[in-house]
Symmetry: C2
Subunit: 280 residues, 2 copies
């Protein structure tokens, strides 16, 4: 039984690294993020989709059987007949569908209600990105922002967070204008929730689309965050941590600028660096 995924856990990207006065275009590595569908069936049953999760490729079979175990679908390894990649789909999602075959018949009724749901993507990154593009057109050109503005964002986010978050355990999503002024901030234990709250606030205030603003995130940038920002028309995303491979791919499609590892006067620009004015 092979436990290594044929897909890569790390993806090579090109990054524009800003460090003080220096600008360096260089190759970099980011974590791969790809959707994986887990299918389950027993003897004589058709495989049924149990879950789709955004995962880093690697140990995919462990992930599939572990998920079945923690959901109570598999009790012990003796109940497991086999685990295999489903290779009948499109090449784009090859090795992104794993089928678990149990020795007993499997009833998934009831398991739907035990899932909490994150708005994210469908099975296949490619297909979903295509779908999204349809009801999510590319963002507007938006502003060109002075590099000095970016350097201020992490400290301003921290300062604003400290007012609200007494526990230190919350993710934040904040809107900044092109001059670095804080417009709004929301927090949640789930970063996708923090962003949905921020966008919901903008909707209720008649402010959508946020075509000239900067989104600053306390954590990392996943595909899901890029997608939600695109739905709100946000042209520039910044984060203290790294973006994933799929986040970068999605931002390229939607025409968004992604800035990662933003700390003091350092930053990595992964996409659409022309929105950053290096001279100011």
């Amino acid at each position: 039984m092979t436990l290594r995924s044929p897909r890569r856990a790390v993806a090579a990207v090109q990054v524009r690294a800003l460090d003080g006065d220096r600008v360096l275009d260089r190759p970099d590595k980011v974590v791969s993020e790809e959707p994986m569908e887990i299918r389950v069936h027993g003897p004589g049953q058709e495989p049924q989709a149990l879950a789709v999760t955004m995962r880093t490729p690697g140990h995919d079979f462990e992930l599939a059987v572990g998920f079945c175990r923690t959901e109570g679908i598999l009790g012990s390894v003796d109940e497991l007949d086999s685990v295999a990649y489903c290779l009948s789909g499109q090449a784009e999602q090859e090795f992104n569908v794993v089928t678990v075959t149990a020795r007993h018949s499997v009833d998934l009724a009831g398991h739907e209600r035990n899932f909490s749901v994150n708005a994210s993507c469908g099975v296949c990154g490619k297909r979903t990105l295509d779908q999204l593009e349809q009801h999510c057109p590319a963002v507007a050109d938006g502003p060109i922002v002075a590099r000095s503005v970016f350097a201020q964002l992490p400290a301003r986010l921290r300062a604003a967070q400290s007012v609200f978050d007494v526990t230190g355990g919350l993710h934040a999503a904040a809107r900044f204008d092109e001059h670095g002024g804080l417009v709004a901030l929301r927090e949640d234990i789930g970063r996708h929730n923090a962003l949905d709250k921020l966008i919901g606030h903008a909707l209720l205030e008649h402010e959508l689309p946020l075509a000239s603003e900067i989104l600053m995130l306390s954590g990392r940038v996943s595909f899901e965050m890029v997608q939600k920002a695109a739905m709100a028309g946000i042209p520039i995303l910044c984060a203290v941590s790294a973006p994933s491979s799929l986040a970068i791919r999605a931002a390229e499609r939607f025409g968004q600028t992604v800035v990662g590892f933003l700390r003091d006067d350092r930053a990595n620009v992964y996409t659409r660096s022309e929105r950053i004015d290096l001279a100011r």
Copy 2:
């Protein structure tokens, strides 16, 4: 339209703080984590469940309409008729169900397939915890572990991670034996996936339940992580960051020890501190 949740974003807990040679039992605050169900309907339609998300209470209406917006169900605020708490359920889940009423009729077909799914809980923390307890009995008493063992875990986790993670963007879940020896480690961009991979590995190796082991997490401890650990029979959970309110409640039910903010010779013990031998 009220935008503050009647439920609290922060919960008061009692913690045993270990700091060098000192042991201090004191009150502390943790982030609230509670399930929220979002229901949607149009004129003349019955409200339908769109999603359940584990969230921090607060700005619940923004979260509900923001989620509808980023899913493409609401276009602008003009399409929104009202947002309200559904108050007909159990007292336990009061203010945890939000109904969005649109001015147009709503078709949720197709939206299920756009969701990525995290194994987590159902609508109501209470009901789900009850359900879990049925097919997830309390963990075994397990070992009593020397306090000095805990102090070593963060550095050992980091050392093991640095071997695998060249990007710095991955969550880790690791198994340690009661003497602090690393048994296995898995990583993923999603921390729930890292833990499912770890448990899947144990299942395939015939090692379940992990009744004498310590689980060490690189991030924070959510309800979902406690639940998955309980399904694998793990008695002790440690993390570099904070646990949520619901994580603590679940760990109490399952009889697990939760250690948070584990850094060098400091740690906060939230539940079942008798598994830690302070004299060693």
